[in-house]
Structure formats: C-alpha cells, structure tokens
Amino acid sequence: MITVTINVNGEKRTASVPPETSLLRMLRDNLNLTGAKLGCDVGDCGACTVIVDGKTVNSCLMLAAQADGRTVLTIEGLATADRLHPLQKSFENYGSLQCGFCGPGVLMSAKALLDENPSPTVPDIRDALGGNLCRCTGYTKMIEAIQVAARAMRGEPAEKTA
C-alpha cells in the first residue's frame, strides 16, 4: 500500500491505496468525491477530468501516487455551499446538460480554460472541450453557456450569443 496526500478542494486529504490505484479511483473510492466520473477509464471520454496544479488531466490516466503532494480541484470544489460557480449557473440557464454524466468533466475543462483565457473565441472553446465527449445534449449549448459565463466573469453585461 502507498500513502498519498493531496490538497483537494482546499482540504488536505490522505489515503492508503494499492500502487495501481488511479487518481480517479482514489478520489471516488477513498475520498468519497464521486463528482468525477468513471467513463472509459483510458483517457478518451474526459468524464474524469479534474484540475491538478492548474492543468486539466484525465484522472483515470494518473496514478494516485503521481498526485501525491499536489493540488487537485474537482467539481465538488467549484461551487460554494450557497453559490454556484458562474459556469454552473450559466449551464443551468442554457440547458447545457441533459443526462449530466459528462458535466463534471466539461465544467472543469471550461473552468481551466477561463482561468487561462478570460475571453476565449469559439474555436478556443471547441479546442478546450475536445477531450470531453457528450453524447446527448451536444456542444452548442455548452459553448453558448461558456461564452455567457466568461462575459459575466469579466464583469460585462449579459448579451445574446450566436
């Protein structure tokens, strides 16, 4: 067994896991953070996307041991108890999710994009979501919602998007 300590959503958490444990399995099974989803488990679908030290990763492709000592943000860390993140609010307003399975991953990809680029173009957004597969809602409403959230986060008034 390997002892892994990560700073997740602002809190220091430790777990003892077998060496072959992925970061995703540790988050879900040991830390009870089940927001990141287990989809393909081989890095294709993006449902497990979390942010490690500011960068999105497929948490299914990272060993838990490789995350030891690092800072992890999951969907559970995006909203506070009384307030949704502007991206979540915007996804809600625009009906950007139906079944929602891809949602936690999509939102983390969108969050990382806006952290680095507060004014993304549509091609920027499409590139940022390239690793997140959605099979029901489709991407158009997500792209709209991200544009609106970006505008809100820049402090600009809401405006109808394409």
Partner: protein
Amino acid sequence: MRAFELVTAKDSRHAVALLAELSASAKVRVIAGGTDLMADLHFSSHVPDVIVDISRAEDLKNIAMTGEGLSIGALVTHTQIMRSPLIRDMFPALVDAAHTIGAVQTRNLGTLGGNLVTGVPSMDSGPTLVALEAVVSIAGPAGRRQVPLAEFWLGPRKTVLKPDELLAEIIIPKQNLSKPTHFLKFGLRKGQALALVNVAASFRVDWDKNIFVAPRIALGAVAPKVIRALKAEAYLEGRTVTPEAMAEAGRVAVGDAKPISDFRASAEYRKDLVAVLTKRALEGAYELAKAKR
C-alpha cells in the same frame, strides 16, 4: 487493473539505477505522463511486475539552447512545447504537431519522450523531429549515448532502448535551428484522432539561385515507423523552387511510403494523402522560408 509494485525516481540518474537494479529480475515499465501506459495496462495482458515513475525527475523537464542545439527534456509535455517561446519562434511545426495530439487533458499529461518511446507509427511528434534530423540522448548505467531519432525505432512499438536505459533528451542539431519546417496531419476528426497520414517538410532556400537546399521530408503512419521520404528529397535537392516541383515531390514521396490498409483507411487512400500532404507541407515550409528571409 492488475497489481504491480511502484517505485518513484528522484531524477534521471536515480531512474537509471532503479532500472538497472530491477530489470535484472523483473519485468519493468517506466511511467511518465501515463497517457499510453495506463491505457495499455487496461487492455494488455502483459502487466509489469514493477513500474518506475519518472514523472518527478525535474532534470528531464528543461527546454534549453546548448552547444549542440535545441535540447528538449523527455518529460516536457505537449502543452509545454505549445507554450515555449523558444520553440514557437524557431519551430512552429513542433507547436502544430503537439497541438494535434489527443486533447487538452492528454497534452497536459503526455510527454514528448513518451510519445517517441511508445513508438506507434502514427505518432505526431515524430515526423517534424525526423525531418529536423533530431538526435536522442539515452541515459544508461554507463552514461549517455546518442542515436539519430530515425534509428531509434526498430518497428511499431519497438525501440533501441535496453531494459536499463531511459530516453533523456531530444536534441535538434545546431545546423537545423530555425530551419523552415511545416507539419500536417490528416485525421478523421480534429481532436482525439490518430493520424491517417502525417507529414513534415523542411528545407532552406538558396535565394540567389532560388533552389532547394537540404530538403527533408518525413512521413508518419505509412510504414512500420516514421520514415524519411528519401526519393522525394533527392528529387528536390538543388532543384529550382516552383509549385510544380513541390507537387512532383509529393508524387515521388508516394513511392517512399509503404502504407497498410486498416480500419482507419486503405493503403490507396493513404498514398493519395501522402502526395497531397507532402506538397502542402512543402508549400507551408516555403511560406515560412519567405517570411524568415
């Protein structure tokens, strides 16, 4: 996933010591970004006994100019390549190639060294580096040895690395710094797609005579490994730079390719792609050469 033992290397020297010690009696694999290995561990029945984690070896994460040329550490990620001011300035083709790999999440994790070591013939890092005559520096128990990248692969997923060796550094030689180079990939989608064919073309122009100098063309996904299109290069060497010459070089390059038919594309389709992409890659490199003149 089946069980294995995991050891973490502090730096490249430690990693080589671990590999030398462990590989004598066990089946050992190295993990860096994990984007290939973690998927392999799911699908393959060959689970290693031990995995050496090199992802914390800081000495393999540098991008720097040295006396030999541009040195890129094996653990530099595709995202870091895309954002390096040095690489963006000298080799936009490397930035374009990195951008076509997987998606943001896999580019944040995946490393240049990993892409080369995995050794799939459709790898997107390969053609540009082969066209630029890159050399790889391999760390082993007796120190470093250098091998031209084009000779690093023995076939699909096979390299010259011995069990106690580690790919440490990729070097683009001094004489090719800022050499105009263009990379193109044709996949079935823009994101998360393997190349049906990828091509890099690189040459300088003798502007007094308006001729090709040192043309280099590398093709991916059309042979057991990334190959040079030697017939097309020979056709262009010393020839006057014209659109017709670039188109003809594309047709000649088809003769250098030995593609197979698989579920992604037929051999015939890949051959057509080689002609078109080679021509366009040469045109792209020429635009860059004019801009840098």
